[in-house]
């Protein structure tokens, strides 16, 4: 089921990449998408699609992400280019609220791309995310930022 669900965006990507929006090309792209998804079908077999998908919140999430990404690149630039780098790095444990694999992954990746934080690992029981932070002087603040930021938005977008 989720294979079919995923093949549509792939077919759209095909159309975009090949640069021909003819129906033939779309059908062809769809067929190819199904084929390539068929190869990895096993990985989706035990996975149900998210219960709720909220396009609006996805857009909001994307917007937040782009903003954070730009900001983080800039912050890195500032840090790196400053003559004396003031760093208090460290790895901290972040207790996860999200449970779904997809959500965990999304969260972890978003954290990596945002300022000052980098996902290192998820615990075996999937309850803790280990995050490396450039500024670990106040771990609580970092945890709060993540929980109130991306984690909440993700739960809104993919309930």
């Amino acid at each position: 089921m989720s294979v079919l669900f995923l093949s549509l965006p792939l077919a759209v990507a095909w159309v975009a990449v090949t640069g021909s929006a003819s129906p033939h090309n779309f059908v062809f792209g769809l067929a190819l998408s199904l084929l390539s998804l068929a190869v990895v079908r096993e990985a989706f077999a035990d996975r149900s699609p998210p219960r709720r998908i909220s396009p609006l919140h996805i857009l909001l999430l994307a917007g937040l992400f782009l903003k954070e990404l730009a900001l983080s690149a800039w912050r890195v630039a500032l840090t790196v280019l400053s003559p004396r780098m003031q760093l208090t790095p460290g790895i901290l444990a972040f207790p996860l609220t999200v449970r779904d694999d997809f959500q965990i992954t999304l969260l972890a990746n978003l954290i990596t791309l945002t300022p000052g934080t980098l996902s290192v690992d998820v615990s075996e029981d999937r309850r803790t995310l280990y995050v490396h932070a450039l500024d670990c002087a106040d771990p609580l603040a970092v945890r709060r930022d993540i929980a109130d930021g991306f984690e909440r938005r993700i739960m809104e977008a993919f309930g």
Partner: protein, 110 residues
């Protein structure tokens, strides 16, 4: 006029992209340990090459090319954190712990 807009946008993107790539490189050079260097690579690096791709996409003036450039950008965003995570995890697991200036390491207490 459109030409100039496009050209200036491209030029800016090029310079910004190159700048961020350089920043990432400098970060890799200057930052004290693997984990801090990863910050530079995964953020500035991704943004840098993303912007350069975008510049190429815009400059071509073809929608398909732009689409491809965006697809490429998206792809980096999809993969960069994963590879950073895998490398960091592997390094940590094999005893490459953060440098001494680090203030804490919750993973080590597991």
């Amino acid at each position: 006029m459109m030409d100039y807009t496009l050209a200036i946008a491209t030029a800016l993107l090029l310079l910004a992209g190159a700048f961020f790539a350089l920043v990432a490189a400098i970060g890799i050079l200057r930052l004290p340990d693997l984990y801090t260097r990863m910050h530079a690579a995964s953020k500035a690096g991704t943004v840098g090459s993303g912007l350069l791709l975008l510049a190429a996409g815009i400059y071509s003036g073809e929608l398909a090319v732009l689409a491809r450039a965006l697809a490429g950008f998206l792809f980096f965003i999809l993969t960069a954190p994963v590879s950073a995570h895998l490398l960091a995890k592997a390094a940590h697991k094999t005893g490459h712990f953060p440098a001494d200036i680090s203030v804490r390491d919750d993973m080590r207490m597991r």
